[in-house]
């Protein structure tokens, strides 16, 4: 795996993770979390761990996202506005 591909995938993971935390629409946040898993799966594959990549793709990207979406389906879709900015800004 060339270094640039590794850095690119890691950067995509970080960006997706920030989106997953920041988005107020929880359904979109689940998609962001799924993207983290998907890029992690690609990274595992390039790092010559195809078995881990398969588990990550099946559980991280498909099943956990489904469980989160079922939970959102029963509760609320949007995060409340009262919380304001993230905890790392607040203090």
């Amino acid at each position: 795996m060339s270094d640039w591909v590794a850095i690119f995938i890691a950067a995509l993971m970080v960006v997706s993770a920030i989106f997953a935390v920041e988005w107020r629409d929880l359904l979109a946040a689940v998609v962001g979390m799924t993207a983290v898993s998907l890029f992690a799966s690609i990274a595992f594959f390039f790092l010559q761990a195809p078995d881990v990549a398969m588990v990550e793709a099946a559980i991280g990207a498909a099943l956990s996202a489904a469980v989160f979406i079922f939970a959102i389906n029963r509760t609320e879709r949007y995060e409340s506005e009262e919380e304001g900015t993230g905890w790392w800004v607040k203090w």
Binding site: D51, M54, V55, A58, A62, L63, A66, R74
Partner: protein, 237 residues
């Protein structure tokens, strides 16, 4: 405020000492004696070509039994938390044409791929956990595509239990024959498949245990999905 600063200083101290300790370990170099032993002896001791599954099922089989137990407890916990007497599926909109057609066309292949992964665990990358998870995604696909679909609980729950009991039974037979729990009796005592290493019928009990783990993981994850997607009927507890 003071608490947070205290926490950050504490974390920095711990991180410093962790970095200091790990600094001495030569990563990427050939220092792991246990790993070297596994790689050199894996073929004649277990018969598996894939060293990872040999470590997971054969050398560290008891840990894997613990993992399966953790998954079983998680699945049982979800079922216990969401338990109601009468529950059914309440999805209102049918799946779109793309989803239903895709489900009909792709399902056999996803199932086949999952079964392939766990049966060939000792030859190719993968094993019981990836295979079971793949089968569970196939059932998730069915749940998403068809609004009235539900797995057959009369088959699924006994299958899950039988797979778990089968794992322990294989281990206990090993205890009876070889003297310790999860002794590889098929490979070391009977010597079945000694001449065809690298083919399907080799590697002792690894394919058997991985088939059981695959069935167990698949049914358990499907059970979690089933429990999450169904809702109690109106008014009834």
């Amino acid at each position: 405020m003071v608490k947070r600063i205290f926490a950050i200083v504490f974390i920095l101290i711990i991180g410093f000492w962790m970095a200091k300790a790990l600094d001495q370990v030569p990563f990427g170099q050939d220092r792991m004696l246990v790993g070297k032993y596994y790689l050199e002896h894996v073929k004649e001791e277990t018969g598996a070509v894939n060293a990872v599954t040999a470590v997971v099922v054969n050398y560290r089989g008891f840990d894997t039994l613990g993992e399966v137990t953790v998954l079983f407890i998680a699945s049982t916990g979800v079922a216990a938390l969401l338990w109601r007497k009468k529950r059914k599926r309440t999805a209102k909109t049918e799946g779109s044409v793309v989803l239903t057609t895709g489900a009909r066309l792709l399902l056999p292949f996803i199932m086949l791929f999952g079964v392939y992964i766990f049966i060939h665990g000792h030859l190719t990358p993968g094993g019981g956990f990836p295979g079971g998870a793949t089968i569970a995604t196939a059932f998730l696909f069915l749940y998403l595509a068809f609004t009235v679909y539900e797995v057959d609980h009369k088959i699924f729950e006994p299958l899950e239990g039988l797979a778990g009991v089968g794992y322990v039974t294989v281990g206990l037979i090993g205890l009876a024959i070889g003297g310790y729990f999860l002794f590889d009796w098929i490979w070391q005592t009977w010597g079945i498949g000694k001449e065809n290493i690298g083919r399907l019928l080799s590697a002792g009990f690894i394919p058997i245990i991985y088939t059981l783990i695959g069935i167990k993981v698949g049914t358990e994850l499907t059970g979690i999905v089933d429990n999450m997607i169904k809702e109690p009927e109106e008014g009834g507890q």
